[in-house]
Point group: C2
Chain length 256, copies 2
C-alpha cells in the first residue's frame, strides 16, 4: 500500500505542471494532497478519476485558500470529512479515509508565518489535534497513518538553517516539544524510521533565492504511522526531484 502526502500549493497549478502524468507513473494507492486552493466548483479532478482514483475533497470556505483532498484507488470503507471543529473545518484541514488495515488521515496544519495571530491559532490547533487523535485511537478506528503538511519541523537534522530558525514558526521549542509528545502518543515518523539520521533531506523549500537548487529546506511533510504499523513499513522517502510545488511528495509503503 503506497501512500503519498503532497502539498501541491494549488491543485490547478500542479496539474498545469504535469501532476496527472506523475500520478499515472507513480500510481500511489492513496494520494493525500494539501493546499488545493480551490473549492469543488473550480476544481477538475477528472484527470485523476480517469486514472481510476476515487476523489474525496475537503476544501476551505474561503476561495483559493487551503483545503485537502485524498485520492484512492480502492474505495475506502468510510470517509470522514473534517474534525468537527468549525474553526478548523472551515479551513479544510482534515480528511480521513478508512481502509481494511489502516485509516489514512490527511491533514494540512496551519502555517504560523503570517503573524503572531496565526501562530497562536496554529499552537491551539496542535493541541486540539493531539486530543482529537487520542480520541480516534481510543475509538476503535484502524491504526492511523497521519499524512500531511505538519508545518512543523522536528529536530535540527530536519532543517538546513537550524541555528537561525530557533524561533521561526515551524521550529519553535513549543512546536518541537509538541512533535515529541505527539510521537510519544504512539506514532512513528516513517521517513526517519526507515532512513535513520540522514541529514539534508527536506520536503519544502522557499521559492525565494533559489533555495531548492541549494537545498536550503525544511522537512515539514510527514507520514506518521501508528506504532502497530511499523513492522509493515517496507519503504519511506521524500521525492525531492518531483517538482509541481514548493513542497515535494513524501511516500511510505506498507505491506499487509
Amino acid at each position: 500500500m503506497k501512500i503519498i502526502s503532497y502539498n501541491l500549493n494549488g491543485f490547478r497549478s500542479a496539474m498545469g505542471k504535469g501532476l496527472a502524468d506523475w500520478v499515472a507513473e507513480t500510481r500511489p494507492d492513496v494520494l493525500c494532497v494539501q493546499e488545493i486552493k480551490a473549492g469543488r466548483e473550480p476544481l477538475d479532478v477528472s484527470a485523476l478519476t480517469g486514472l481510476g482514483y476515487h476523489a474525496y475533497l475537503h476544501p476551505a470556505q474561503k476561495p483559493g485558500y487551503s483545503g485537502v483532498a485524498t485520492f484512492s484507488l480502492q474505495k475506502p470503507l468510510a470517509v470522514v470529512e473534517g474534525c468537527g471543529q468549525s474553526c478548523y473545518d472551515d479551513e479544510g484541514r482534515v480528511l480521513r479515509l478508512n481502509f481494511e488495515h489502516c485509516s489514512v488521515l490527511n491533514t494540512y496544519m496551519p502555517s504560523g508565518t503570517s503573524g503572531p495571530e496565526r501562530q497562536a491559532f496554529k499552537v491551539e490547533w496542535l493541541h486540539f489535534f493531539r486530543r482529537y487523535v487520542r480520541e480516534l485511537q481510543g475509538a476503535g478506528v484502524p491504526p492511523l497513518v497521519i499524512a500531511g503538511d505538519y508545518n512543523c519541523c522536528q529536530e535540527e537534522i530536519d532543517i538546513r538553517n537550524a541555528k537561525t530558525n530557533l524561533n521561526s514558526p515551524g521550529f519553535t521549542p513549543e512546536e518541537r516539544q509538541w512533535f515529541r509528545d505527539f510521537l510519544a502518543d504512539g506514532f512513528t515518523d516513517s521517513f526517519r524510521h526507515h532512513h535513520g539520521p540522514v541529514p539534508d533531506r527536506y520536503s519544502w523549500w522557499t521559492f525565494r533565492a533559489g533555495a531548492r537548487a541549494r537545498n536550503v529546506g525544511w522537512r515539514l511533510d510527514h507520514l506518521l504511522v501508528d506504532n502497530a504499523l511499523v513492522p509493515h513499513i517496507r519503504h519511506a522517502d521524500l521525492l525531492h526531484d518531483v517538482v509541481h510545488s514548493d513542497h515535494c511528495p513524501a511516500v511510505v509503503e506498507l505491506a499487509f
Copy 2:
C-alpha cells in the same frame, strides 16, 4: 515633430515586452502613454530618461490603476498636471506639455465597460472635457494636439462590428455625437484626415478570442489636432504591428 499616443495597459508590462527598445528605434519627439497602472514609486522610467527623454507623470491615486505619462525629448516650456477637477485628477487622466508650436494634451478618458455607473461618469467627463478644452482654446495656449485613449469610436468605419455594438460603451449614439461636436469645436482627426475613409484600421483589440489576429478591433486612440495645425500634418498612422499592449500606438508627424 513626431507625437505618439499609446495606451500601454501597464507601463511595467509593456517595458517587459520591449517598449524601451521600440522607443529607441522609433524616437518620437513626444510619447504620450496611458494606463501606466503604477504610481511614482513602483515606476522605473530610467530606461526612457536614459534615451534622453524628460519624463512627466500623472498617476492615479489608486495603486495599479489608470494614470498617464508623457515623455519628451525637448524640455517643454510648461507642464500642467491634471485638469483641476479632483474627481478626474485622482484618476490620473490629463497631462499637458507646452512647446513652441503646440500644446500636447495627453488624456486617458474613462472606460464605461465596467457598468452603468462608470458609463455615466464617462459621459459627464466627456462634457466636462469639452468645456475644459474650449477654455484652453480661449486662454491663449498654443494650438492643441490632444493625444490619448478616448475610449470612443467615431463612425462605423472605426469599428469592426458596428452593427452589434450600436449600444456598447464607446460607440453609443451619445458618445458618437459628442465626438462630432468636439471636432466641430475646431479639431481634426489626424489619422482620418491623412488616410481618408480607409476601413479596418483599429487601435484596440480585446485580448479575448484572438481578436487582434482576426483584426476585430476598435479605433479608440486618437491624435486630434487644432485645425490650425492641419497644414503642418506630414504623416499620421496606427502602428498595428507594435505589440506591447492590447492597444497599438497612434502617431502623427507635424512639420513646423
